[in-house]
Each structure stands twice: as structure tokens, then as C-alpha cells.
Amino acid sequence: MLELAIGIILGGCALGAGCAMIAGIGPGIGEGHAVAKACEAIGRQPECKGDVTTTMLMGCAVAETTGLYALVIAILLIFVAPGRFVDILMQAVGN
């Protein structure tokens, strides 16, 4: 019975991490748009390539934030949460 419970915990954590990383779609699309527009702008005005590239990198980094939140959640779910949950389960079983 205990094995089943721990298995459910580990599986739930892995599934949760996978679901959290669905958030990676958003920043991917957003950054793709940003880079496409930057390419257009450079094609139109090649002389301001440096400025456009700097601004694009800034925007990409800011757009990446939501993806990184998901990443942090996924990392916590894979490396930190299972140990905590198993500890809680063990305490509950001990009592």
C-alpha cells in the first residue's frame, strides 16, 4: 500500500512538471514574433541593426519570464517536491 502511495506521489510530481512546461509554448511563439519583426525592421533599415538587435534581445528576455516561472515550478516538482511529499506521507503513516 505504501509503495502505491509513493508511486502516485512520484507520478503526480512528474506529470505536474510536464504540464507546467506547457507554458513553454507561449514564450516560444512570442519570441518568434519578436525576432520576425526585428528581421523585417533590419531588412527595411539595415543601418540601425545594432539598436534593433539590442531591443529585441531585451524584449525576448522579458517575454521569457513566464516560461521561466514554469521552469522553476517544474524543477521544484522534480527535485524538491517528491522528497517533501514522501516525508509528509511517512509522518502521517507513523502517526
Binding site: 534581445l57 531585451m58 528576455a61 522579458v62 521569457e64 519570464t65 522553476v72 524543477i75
Partner: protein, 300 residues
Amino acid sequence: MSIIFLLLSVLSFAAAIVIKILFVPASEGIDITGAHVFFTVKLPIQDLPITESQVNSWCVMLGILFLCLFLTSGLKTRNVSVRQLLAEWIVEKTTNLVKTNMGEFFEGFAPFVAAVLGLSAFSSLSSLIGLFPPTSDINITAGWAILVFFLITYYKMKAGPWIYLKSFGQPVPLLAPLNIISEFATPVSMAFRHYGNVLSGSIISLLVAVGLSGLSKTIFSFLPGALADFPYLRIGIPAVLSLYFDLFSGGLQAFIFAMLTMLYISGGFPAEEYAARKKKREERKAARAAVMNANKRESA
């Protein structure tokens, strides 16, 4: 004399490696445990663990300090050395960057921005010599982000606390809770952005390295004896990933952290209100001085 500073700068990075070799037990295979705790200082309220990231960031700070001393020692006005040209180039570039992004009022921020940029870049790049990069610890980046948050709030309050409080009610007072949340989201997002980028890079590199060693074991299992155990595929291939994650991503995140610092500080500063307040104060001062002068003349 200047060579001594360069040696000390290299030594402080070497010291971090020596400390790591002495304190961290050798382990086989993969372990993603975060920063190792070297020792714990007993304090009355809560124990203070001295972790790898703290020690490494102090070593990086010492390294940068001695590097700066090396670059700026023996300055001359004629027959300048390459070293001095490099130092002048760094100072000029950061001053220009700060001036174009923050305006004339914040020109004095150039050393702070350069310090943030250098510390962040060197911390991320320290993973190239096998150290635990301090920026992949949330505590380090959160510390920097909190410092930036205090600076932002200080410059927002520069035009008086009432204007600062009133800015939460913009554009409608109903949105005040959301404005307060977004105020606190600034340091959180800055900390998580830097930490997440560096940590994800190191985790992906580690997973790829471990996966490649397993793959090479299955592919080269026909070789006799110890030759089959040697991870051939791990030669060179992880270095390509390191090129992106350590060099490009580390440098880019350092630049972005410094850039966001500048933009947030200068963006939150209410320039018009500050100018109006300054003007009003000067007018009041002038009026008071005029009254005093008149009183003096009367009494004389």
C-alpha cells in the same frame, strides 16, 4: 606591481576551486543538489549556513576587485599601455550606456551598473572553470533584485511620499491592489529570470553529459575491458552546449539584468514632479532669503 594584482585576481578564483576540492566530497555520476553547505555558523535566532554560492560569489568579488586594481594601476597621460586603454574603454562604454538609457540625472549610476554587470557576468562565467555558478542560487540573485527594488522605491519617493502613494491609484483607484502586486513582481521576476536561465543551462548540460556517457557505454560495449567504460561521446559534444549556456546565456543575462536595473530605476523616477518640487523649494528659499535681507536692512 600590477602583475601582483593580476596574480591575486587569478588566485582568488583558484582559491574557490581549492575550497571546492577540499570541502565537497567526490561523487560518482549525477547529483543535482544545489549549493553544498560548507559549514554552519551558530547564531541565536537562526543558524547561518555558509554555502558554496556565498563563498564563490565572495571569490568572484575579490577577483573583480583585483582585476580592476590591475587595470587601473600605473595610469599615465602619455604612452598609454593596452591595459589602460582597456580600462578607459570599459569606463567610457558603461558611461555612454548609462547616459543613453537613464539620462543626465542618473549619470552617477555608471559604477553601480558596471558593478552589477561585471559581478553577474563573472558569476555566470565561473561555471567555465568548474565552479558552482553563484547565479544559479536563488538567494544570490534575489539579494541583487532586492537591492534594485530598494533603489527603485527610493527614486520613486524622491518627489515626496505623497506622490509615490498617489502613483498606486493610477489610472483608477480601483486598480491599487494590482499596482501593489506588480510593484512586488518586479524584483521577483528579475531574480527568477536570472536564476532560471543559469540553472536551466547547468541542468540541461548535466543531463546531456550523463546521457551521452550512457549512450557511449551501449554503443562501444563491444570493446574489451576498461576501453568499453570510457565515455567517448562526452569528449567535445557538451562543450558546444556550454558555449551557448555558459558564454552566450550568461553574458546576455548579465546584460539584461543591468539593463532592467537601469530602465526600472529611471522609468519609475517622476522627473516632472521632482523638477516642480525642486523649483518650488528654491523659490521658497529665495523668498525667505529676501525676507531675511529686508529684516536685516530694517534693523540696521
